[in-house]
Structure formats: C-alpha cells, structure tokens
C-alpha cells in the first residue's frame, strides 16, 4: 500500500526523550524520527508510553530530557497552541470533541488558526469577515465530503455513535490542513467495517494530501497494512523500530507481545 508516494526527509526527530510523572517513567531515552509523507506507527502494550509520546510531540508534555527537532530546527518546549501553529494536528484516544456543538461547528473550529479577521470585524459582521467565514465553510465542506459525513452536518456531536465521533475528530484535525497528523488509536472500539473505512481515510489523507502521519494503533493487522515504519514501545523504552516486516520478525517485540492479548 501507499502506492508510488515518495518518502522525503526527516520532518520530526526525537533524540533521547525521557519523561516521567513523579515515580512513573513514561518514556525512557526514546529516539526515533519521522519522515515526510510516511505513515509512522507507534505500537506497544497498554501503558507503554505511546500516548505520552504523542503528547510530547504535540507540546502537552515537556520531556525532562532529550531534544525534539521539527522541520529541521531544534524546538524548545512549545505549548500545544504553538505546536498547532507549526502545523501539528491530532486526534485523541478518548474523543475530545466539543460536545455541545454541531459536527459542522466542530470542524469549523479546526479552521480557527487560518481565519484572520479581527474580533470587531466579526462582531459587526463586516463583509470581509463574512467572506472569510464562507471561504472556510467551503474548505470544511470538502473535509465533510472527504470523510463522508454529509448527512450529519447539523447533528450535535454528542448524539453521534462512537465510530462517527472518531471520524469527526479526524475531520476537525484535517480541517487544520496539518503538515503532521497525530492519531491516537483512531480505530479503537470500532467494528470491522468502520475500521476498514478509517483505514481507507487515513491512507487517502496520506496519498492525496501528502500529510505525514504518526499513528498509534493496537490492531496489528491494521498497523502492518498501512504503515511504512513502526516503532515499538514497552514500559517506556523503545524495543523495536523498522518496517512492518522487520518488526514481525523482531524477537524482543514478539516477547513483549506474548501474554498480552489483543
């Protein structure tokens, strides 16, 4: 899969990342990189530190040790907002949609950074602000079409079934037109059909928009199918890194997964 796309340079480089919460060492000296246009999977048993890794990339957590380089430049501790400004978008393991808002409004918030009109222009509904709103509405409609959620535009997201909420979560992230997309278990809790749809969407995003994707997933079949390279974490340590085929044959990985049911 992944067709004729060309994997590019390293866009994200993490060196010797260590992160602990009190006594809990969530990440220990983890080093890996992500290349442009690739689908990079992070796998590992529960509590291995996968989400923590995404949270470091996304500026939610700041590692005690290690360096993060993004787009060729060393990055100092950024906060989540700055990470978003730099083109990093994400979805959440526990869906974090804006429950009171419609699907459309949720996705529109993804355009927030790209909308420039000032507070007063919006308040007084100046033509410039109205025009901008329409333009971005257009972009959002494209995302909605892309993810095939046209029928649910006006529905408050809290009323949607779980699988669709996950899709809206992805839609909101896509609306940001990110360079780097972080997906935390986008298929968790889905049935086979929903998983297939989600796989297709992720691959399409990767193919059509060239978006670089870092993906956490428990379903091995899915991971091996759609990712270009895989990193394996266990108790906060990296125990494997390579193509799906390499990972399949890696003894440390096989050991880590023995006794862990998936």
């Amino acid at each position: 899969m992944g067709g004729g796309k060309t994997i590019g340079d390293v866009v994200l480089d993490l060196q010797g990342i260590s992160l602990s919460f009190g006594g809990v060492r969530a990440l220990q000296d983890v080093t890996f990189d992500v290349r442009e246009h690739e689908v990079r999977a992070i796998i590992g048993p529960n509590g291995a530190g996968k989400s923590s890794m995404l949270n470091v990339i996304n500026g939610v957590y700041h590692p005690q040790q290690g360096t993060v380089s993004y787009l060729g430049a060393k990055r100092h501790d950024v906060n989540t907002h700055e990470a978003a400004v730099q083109g990093i978008a994400r979805t959440f393991q526990n869906i974090a949609l804006f429950k009171g808002m419609s699907v459309l409004d949720n996705i529109m918030t993804g355009r927030n950074l790209r909308m420039k009109s000032g507070l007063l222009a919006q308040a007084f509904r100046l033509p410039s602000a109205e025009r901008e709103e329409l333009e971005h509405r257009e972009a959002v409609e494209q995302v909605i079409d892309f993810l095939e959620i046209q029928a649910h535009r006006k529905t408050p997201v809290g009323r949607l079934p779980y699988g669709l909420q996950k899709r809206v979560d992805l839609a909101r992230a896509l609306a940001m037109e990110p360079k780097l997309l972080l997906l935390d278990e986008p298929m968790a809790g889905m049935n086979v059909e929903e998983k297939q749809d989600m796989c297709r969407f992720i691959l399409d995003v990767n193919d059509q928009f060239g978006t670089t994707i870092v993906l956490i997933e428990h379903d091995m079949g899915v991971v091996m199918d759609i990712s270009d390279r895989v990193i394996v974490l266990d108790y906060g340590k990296k125990i494997g890194d390579g193509t799906p085929d390499e990972i399949r044959g890696n003894q440390a990985v096989i050991d880590a997964y023995l006794g862990v049911s998936h």
């Binding site: 996304n58 949609l97 009171g100 808002m101 355009r111 927030n112 509904r125 992230a173």
Partner: protein, 333 residues
C-alpha cells in the same frame, strides 16, 4: 426521568405562584400585568449580569465572585467621567477600562494560577473583588454619584383600552430593558455565528482539545473577561441611573448568583431564563406575598425582595442540583 418530574413540579409551583394573585382575586388583571412587567424588566438585568458570570465560568472554570464589584466599578467609572465629558464618551472610555482590567486579571491572576484547585481560584476572585471595590473608591471616590441617561423618568400609561385603569410603566425602565435585551441577543448571536464565538464555546467544552487546534486560551480569557466587563458596565449604568451609583449596586449584582444556580452554571439560555424567573418571582413575592405574611404572622413584611431570590435558588439546588439547563456530567470510565 426524575429530573423531568422534578422540573415539572417546580414549574407547576412557580406557575401557581405566578397566577395565584389573579385567581384569588388579590389583584386586578391590569395591576398584575404591571407587576409582571416590572419583574421582567428587573429580570433582564439579572440575566445580563448572570451572563457575564456564565461566560467566565464556562471558559475558564472560574467562579467569578468579582462580578458584582465589576458592576459597581464600571458604573463608578461612567458616573465620574460623565462629569467631564458626554455620557457616550464616558461609556466608551469605561469599556476601554474594563478591557484593560480584563487584561490585567488574565495576566496577574488567571495565567499564574492556571490548573490550580477551583478553591484557589475562588479565593483569588475574592481578592480581586476587594481590590476592585477598594481601587474604585480610591480612584473615583466613595460618595453616591448620579448617572443621567437623558431619558425622562416619567411614568406613562399604556394599554388603557385592554385593562381597567391601564398599566403604568417608566419610560427609562423600558429603554434600559430594551438595551439590556439587545445586548443579550447580540451576545447570543456572537456566540453562535462568529469564529471567536465558536472558539469560546470550544474552550468551554474542552480546554486541551481547543488548544490543540490552535485556539489560544489566554486570548479567549481576555475576551471573556472583557465581555463580562461590558455586560457589567451596561448593568451598572442602568442600575446606577436608577438607584444612584453606590456600594449597594454591587449587592444587587450578586443576585446573579441565585440566577446561575437556577439556570445552571454553564448555560447561556439558563442565565437568561433564570434571570427572568428571579426578577418576576421576587417582584410578585414583594407585592403579593408580603402583605399576606404581614397579615397572617404580624410581621413587618419588608425586604422580601432581598432574600426571595436566594430561597428560590436554594429550592432549585435541592430539587435540581444541576440547574434548569446544566449539563449532567457523565465521566468516561
């Protein structure tokens, strides 16, 4: 289900209280409508202040005890500056002052205390309350000041053809109510229809998710506190014009508290409807209930308006803890 039943019972009680004076013949229809209108007009202002409260609570999780102090401070600013310039200019200047205040509070109080316990933040807003109260007096003085809106305070008779004796209302009350209602509607539209409105709602729903799509929390806080400041300003000017600008209007403004308990801390429609219920409820109680209490128990009978709202709120707390429109929190397990 239980919530719905309780809600029905509450409404039945409120409704019964509302129409009792009519049914029992304690009041003529004209007078009753007059009291009702008076209550609604007072209620719109409560709604307005409660809205400021809800905005801040939703966006920053802060229970803003300083809302009443902000009302007084804004009214003082307008009253004193209007001595030296036209009223509209004084109001514009006061808006600017409230925005600056929002910046200062965000910078010096909210930002350093982010992620602290709600209790810490509550204490902080208590501090802010006393600061604003004192600072207002230091800068503007502590006498009673007047605000002249330039609207004649004459009562007018309306609907003489419908009701016997017509209905007496004050022109300035009507104007103030219209202004307050307009502001409420504009705010609601702003929330629904603009990018910043969406961002505000997003922050209210989920801080982390909002930040991760690039909504700047700090800016949202400034905007929310500024809006609360403007809301306080309008309420302060209206009350100030009516009662004189003095310390007691910060007490009146604290009626927003029972209003938000009634409407739910996170609900904008709740703030609006809660304000109206409290406004009408206390007027009705004052006019119709007080005389009964006086007769039956030989009481002095005054001051019902001062405590009725709180008792009503308490009743709601007992029966509907999350308020009329509050969200039930179902935690993910």
């Amino acid at each position: 289900m239980k919530k719905n039943r309780n809600l029905m019972i509450l409404f039945a009680v409120l409704l019964a209280g509302l129409i009792a004076p009519l049914v029992t013949g304690a009041s003529g229809a004209g007078f009753w409508v007059e009291v009702l209108l008076g209550g609604l007009m007072a209620g719109v202002l409560y709604s307005l202040v409660a809205l400021g409260f809800v905005l801040i609570f939703k966006a920053s999780g802060v229970f803003n005890f300083a809302q009443g102090a902000m009302v007084l401070f804004a009214a003082l600013s307008v009253a004193r500056m209007a001595e030296k310039m036209p009223l509209w200019a004084a109001m514009l200047m006061a808006v600017a002052i409230m925005v600056v205040l929002a910046f200062v509070i965000e910078r010096l109080v909210l930002r350093p205390l982010v992620n602290q316990d709600p209790v810490v933040l509550l204490m902080a807003t208590l501090g802010v309350t006393y600061f604003i109260d004192g600072f207002g007096q230091t800068v503007w003085g502590s006498d009673i000041y007047e605000i002249d809106l330039g609207i004649a305070r004459e009562p007018v008779m309306i609907l003489q053809s419908v009701f016997d004796g017509g209905i007496l209302i004050n022109k300035d009350d009507v104007a103030a109510t219209a202004a307050a209602a307009l502001l409420v509607i504009l705010l609601a539209l702003f929330f629904q229809k603009t990018k910043t409105g969406r961002a505000l709602r997003a922050v209210a729903d989920d801080h982390l998710a909002a930040q991760s799509i690039g909504i700047p929390l700090n800016r949202i806080w400034v905007i929310v506190w500024s809006l609360a400041g403007v809301v306080a300003l309008v309420a302060g000017v209206v009350w100030g014009a009516k009662l004189g600008v003095q310390f007691s209007i910060s007490q009146v403004a604290l009626k927003a508290l029972p209003v938000v308990i009634l409407g739910g801390f996170t609900s904008i429609p709740g703030a609006i409807i809660g304000g109206l219920i409290i406004g009408v409820g206390e007027k009705m109680a004052e006019v119709f209930l007080a005389p009964i209490a006086v007769k039956a128990f030989d009481l002095a009978g005054g001051g019902i308006e001062n405590w009725f709202a709180y008792v009503l709120a308490l009743l709601f707390l007992l029966v509907l803890p999350e308020g009329l429109f509050g969200e039930k929190h179902i935690d993910r397990v």
